[in-house]
Every structure is written in structure tokens, then in C-alpha cells.
Amino acid sequence: MKRQMTGAQMVVQALIDQGVKNIFGYPGGAVLPIYDEIIQQEKVRHVLVRHEQGAGHAAEGYARSTGKVGVALVTSGPGATNLVTALTDALMDSIPIVGITGQVPTHLIGNDAFQECDTVGITRPCTKHNWLVKDVDDLARVLHEAFYVASHGRPGPVVVDIPKDVQFATGTYVPPGHIEHPTYHPRVDGDPRAIAAAVELIASAKRPVFYTGGGVVNSGRRASALLREFVRMTGYPITSTLMGLGAYPASDPQWLGMLGMHGTFEANNVMHDCDVMVTIGARFDDRITGRVNAFSPGSRKIHIDIDPSSINKNIHVDIPIIGDVTHVLQAMIAAWKVRKPRVDKRALKAWWDEIDRWRRRDCLAYKPNADVIMPQYAIERLYAATRDKDVYITTEVGQHQMWAAQFFKFEEPNRWMTSGGLGTMGYGLPASIGVQVAHPKSLVIDIAGDASVLMTMQEMSTAVQHDLPIKIFILNNQYMGMVRQWQELLHGNRLSHSYMESLPDFVKLADAYGCVGIRATKPGELDDAIAEMIRVKRPVIFDCRVAALANCFPMIPSGKAHNEMLLGDAVKPETLGKAIGKEGKVLV
């Protein structure tokens, strides 16, 4: 049904028609007409943030935990530039978000008007696509197209820039309907011949591994179910990237833990020694591969990805399959059932025996301490206290993030929200707000570091205003822990500006924000304090004082191969300085 309405009304109508229930934003001069419509309706809830970056990350958390598109609404100029970090983060991690930005009136564009910036120019490299809408009659179509582009193919962020006069102008609204996009048609079904060849190769493997990533989560819940089915059918081991955690249950015996720079000994050794690698929705990032020319030298590689540009970007693969993970796995399982292959049981047994030897190395072991809370211990206790609950975890970036990935066990997809590609400190707190908005009854915890959390701390005010009982669990070691660890390994332990001088008193800060502050300094008080945090039905800042100089192991140092890991209990002070080899210091 076509209707006449103003541009501002079209924005709200398009959100309603796209099924959007919640948006995150911050008003300003160039979006006032849209905000004037928002307050006059109740179908779309607006969550006011304290900084536009927070709106972007909240939209990401919302999207990542629901599988829907997240929406951020900000004003022109600084509103748009503040959104850029979140857009880039969403691009790197393939998170579907629609950014709606106000713009100065069309006749002022290019005039250096107040709060003007070239939003489409600035956001061009950090979005999948963006639009500047100069004619109100294009607005509805562009908004629907924006949702389509954000959520189809490899998901990602898009921006629609709307000048203020277009928001005031009256035009014709068109409902979404079925979009037949003129050019953007991502391929979802894999090539049947490639799938047949892949099944053949998988069946013939003697030392196989499934290496999965965030693409499985992005493909939807069905993809995780199919992955579980296929992995169990084969009996092969499986590991995952940081972004893919939860797609396969961590309690399953075939699960090896995360791989990569801070992955497990068993996962990385399996990657190095395998003969067939089945890569699903992962992209051979440098944090995964280590030294590229020593990456899994003896394997033949299958790569399933919806984005053709991910194929052969870093690592040459033998069988590329371009398509959506759900579709391709469905076809693979069907082909496997038809072919009924007999896997080499003896070889597989020998492979699992080898894996068990690696597992017995117990690479995540750390030295317990009766006086000081070890950060690993803190995560273990947090996991123990919440494992039976309906819990969602977000993180900031750094050591705490890696410890969370290592020690928190995820059984389901969409439960783990972290900034993997861009590595955005300050992501976790606003992301947890987005998750809590999407899941008001669930327990949402941001596992944070003392340095990261201060980058977006102002969003506590958002949580208090909107009654969002997020828990900010800060592993407070009074350092930028990962920076300090690298300085110790690479820079002769010269701790240049990685010590957080004059941190705030987080408990008093919680008080100042009107939420609850809890502190734990001794291992003995940790469990009670965590129980208290969960019991409180308000936002909490939990100041968990942990060992200051703990390092995150295992670690594949820069420029080393998967089978050259540093293990925590084997690292002596004198080996630390020599950890990075002569060839290796190129990678950062």
C-alpha cells in the first residue's frame, strides 16, 4: 500500500515494517524530525546511549545475540564520525547493522555547514554499502534495500545518510515487499561438484579436522545444528575461531577448544598435523594461521564461505565452496548419507590417541594462588556459577577476552559477543546493553578489563536509565594486560605506558552511576561475591582484583607455526625475551 508521508515518518514506518523492535541512538540537530516521530509512537523502542559508538556496539550486541539486524540512529557530523568505530567493528566481524545518520539539508551539503561531514565518504570503506538519499521518494526503497544488503550474503554494516530537508519533505512510502535487487545476489547454494569432491576428501581423511568460524553463527541456528550433526556423523575432531565459539558445544568430546594465537595445544597441533582441513565460515585470519608458510603444511583444505573474496586470500585452498553454511552443510550431509562412506577407523583411532596425548599436556593449567585471585580462576568460578543459567557473555579486548574464550565453555551459538576482527577495546559494555535489551530476562555479563571498560564506561548511565541489569565483571590487574604481556615478550619488558595510573575506584564509580558496586580481592571471597552479583537485579560493576602480572598462555608467538607454542608452565623468565624468533617479528 503506497502512502504519502514525510521522510521522518518513512524512517519509523520502514523500521516497523522491517520488524525492528528496538533501536539505539542519540539525538541531534540533523535527526530531530525523526526523533519527533519516534516519541509519537510505541512500536519501536528507542534506547538512548551516552556516545554514538555505544549505539553502534549496542546494535552489534543486539544483532549478534538475536540473528536480527541491529539499528543505530545518530545525528550528522560528530554523531556519524563517532559511529565509525562500531561500523568498522561490524564490518570486520560480519555483523548486520543499519546506521541511520542525519545530514545537513541538501542545499548546505558541501558548504562546511555546522555539524556537517562527508558521512558517505567517511563510511564508504567501513560499510558494505552506503547511501545518501537526496530525494524523499527514494527513501523508503533505500531503507528496505539497506536491510536487505546488511543481512544478505556475508552480513555487515550499512549506512543511510538522510539530509534534514528530506526528513521534512513529503513523498510516497513503499512497503518492503519482495526485493529483487538489481545487482546484489550472493550465492547461497554450493557447487554440487565441489560438494561431492569435498565429501570424497573428507571420507578419505586419516587425520582430519573441522575448523569453523563466525560464519556458522551468522548463517543461523540451523547451521549450528547441521554442524553438530555432520561432525558427529564423521567422528572427527573440531576446533573453532574466537568468533565461532558456541556453534559446537564445548562439553562435547570431539571439541578441541579454540585454535589460534591463544588457542589450545591440542587444537593447534591438530591444525598443524592434519591431512584434511574442513574450513567452515572462517577466514584464515593472521591470528589463526601464525606463520603462513608453515601453516598446516601437510593438509588438503576445503573452504566453505559465502564471500568469494575470502577464498585464497591468505591461504591457498584445494576445494573452495562458495555458499551459505546452512545450505552447503545440508547438501554435504545428504551426499554423505547417500554415499555411506567407510571412514578409516584405524587411522582415526590413531589420530584420536595422538590428540589425547596433546590433551594430557593440559595446556590451560595455571598455578593456583591462595592469596591472590588468578584471572583464570575468576573466569572458572564465574563459569561455574552461571553455567546452568540463561547467560550471555560479551567481552572487551585483551587478556581477559582470551581467558574468557579459554575458560568459559559455550554450548550454544549467539551466546558469545566479542570484538574479534577489529579488536575494539570498549566493545563489551555497550554490546551487553544491546544483548540485555534483546533478552531482558537473561543474565548478561561483560567480562571486562580495567583498561578497556573505561573507554565506554559512560554507558553505565544508559543501563541505569533503561533498567538493564548488565553485569560488568572487570578483571582488574591495573595494567593493559595484553600490551604489557607483549612488551614483556617483545620489548625487553619496558612497560611503556601500559600501566593504568590512577584508576577510578570502580565500586564508588558504580555508586556514582546509581548502580551496584562489588569488589573481590581474595580467592576466598570470590564465589560469594559472584553470587551476590547474579542475585542483584540491577546493573553491577564488579571489581575483581586479580594477579597483576599474569600472562595469557598458551601463545603462538608472532611468526611461529602452530607446533611452536609457548605453554604457560614451561615458560621461564629467560625464555620469554627470546620467544620471538629471528624470522618472526614482522607480525604484530
Binding site: 558517505v120 565518504g121 564508504r124 570503506p125 558494505k128 554499502h129 545518501l132 544488503v149 550474503g153 556475508r154 538489481p182 545487482t183 546484489y184 550472493p186 564471500d307 568469494p308 573474496s309 577464498i311 585464497n312 586470500k313 591457498h316 617483545l490 620489548h491 625487553g492 619496558r494 625475551g577 620471538i580 629471528k582 624470522e583 617479528k585 614482522v586 604484530v588
Partner: protein, 199 residues
């Protein structure tokens, strides 16, 4: 103190350029030398604002080379433009470029003309030459040999229009250099595949 890094001789690892004073922290940048080739791509795009910036931004953002780039609307009714890009890279980079272009929303098709055969490639140049006496006569004589056309002249100068492959244009400019070459304007390469088919 951290020791300076020494590259093994004859190990196949390229020796890093050693700074005069070794840095306190030892990083070095490895230089990679894989064989590169030059390819001509035809990219059909929606002629909408910013589309050229998207394509150029992709090349600069990801560190790809642009040796030549031409663009013009070729189908007015459908608002389609044709971008011809000559780029240099390794096989892996060239494949990346095609895939990265292909996934852009306003891009209709990406065709590697070089991979599909020997494309017809032409460039147009406007060449201004000023001079007197014998060199002026010589310039005109050479222009005739290159089938360049005089499109403007006074008693002191010529402007030649010359069309051809890049190598011909290069050569023409080179022979004009000692004869009073003033300036050159070139269009960049327009390319089309041989045979009956369209891209």
C-alpha cells in the same frame, strides 16, 4: 639490551635493510617477491554518485595497483558505466581484486579481458609540440609516420592527436621530446574483447 637481528645468508629470506642504529625492539618487514602480471579488467557498474570513489577506494585501501583507469557511461538508458582498469599483481592478488570488486553492491559484472584472451586496447593522447625550423618539420614528418592528426596549430606549435596501443603512444611521446614537446594528455586505456561476445 636487545640484539640486532641478522638475517641468515643464503637462507632464501630476504635480508632486511639494516638501520644505522639497531632499534631497541627488533621488528623487521619481510619483502615478498612473487611474479606479478598486468591484467585489464572491464567492470560494469551502476552510474550512481560515489561509484568511482568506491572502486578507487578499494584499490588504495587494500594496496592494489592502478596502472590505468578510464570510466564513462556506456548505456545511458540503464545508467550503466564501464570502468576499464589496468592493474598489476600476483595471481593471488588479481583473483582478490576480481572478487573484491565483484562483491560491491553497485557492480554488475567484472571481466578479466586479459585472462579471456588478448583484448584490443587503445589509448588516445593529445601532444603539444612547439618549435621552429627543422625540428618543426621533423615533428610533422614523424607525426605523419605515427598517423597522428594535427588538431591545432600556429606557426609556433602543433597539437597532435594520436591513437594506439600504449607502446605506440609512449614511443610517439619519446620521439617528440627532443623536438619541443610541451605537454601531453592521455586518456588511459579503453579495452574490449575480440570476437562477437559482450562482457
Amino acid at each position: 639490551m636487545t640484539k640486532a637481528v641478522k638475517a641468515k645468508s643464503g637462507s632464501g629470506v630476504r635480508k632486511p635493510r639494516a638501520p644505522a642504529v639497531p632499534p631497541a625492539s627488533a621488528y623487521f618487514i619481510e619483502e615478498v617477491h612473487d611474479r606479478t602480471e598486468s591484467h585489464t579488467l572491464s567492470v560494469i557498474v551502476d552510474n550512481e554518485p560515489g561509484v568511482l570513489a568506491r572502486v578507487i577506494g578499494l584499490f588504495s585501501g587494500r594496496g592494489y595497483n592502478i596502472d590505468s583507469l578510464t570510466v564513462s557511461e556506456t548505456e545511458h538508458a540503464k545508467h550503466l558505466s564501464r570502468i576499464t582498469i589496468v592493474t598489476t599483481g600476483t595471481q593471488m592478488v588479481l583473483a582478490q581484486i576480481k572478487n573484491q570488486l565483484g562483491r560491491m553492491v553497485p557492480v554488475h559484472t567484472v571481466t578479466d579481458l586479459t585472462a579471456d584472451g588478448r583484448p584490443l586496447e587503445r589509448e588516445l593522447a593529445l601532444v603539444k609540440v612547439a618549435g621552429h625550423g627543422e625540428s618543426r618539420v621533423e615533428a610533422l614528418r614523424l607525426a605523419d609516420a605515427f598517423r597522428a592528426v594535427v588538431i591545432d596549430a600556429t606557426v609556433n606549435h602543433f597539437v597532435f592527436e594520436v591513437t594506439g596501443r600504449t607502446s605506440k603512444i609512449e614511443q610517439f611521446v619519446a620521439v617528440m621530446a627532443p623536438l619541443g614537446l610541451v605537454e601531453v594528455c592521455r586518456t588511459g586505456i579503453a579495452a574490449i574483447a575480440r570476437g562477437t561476445k559482450a562482457v
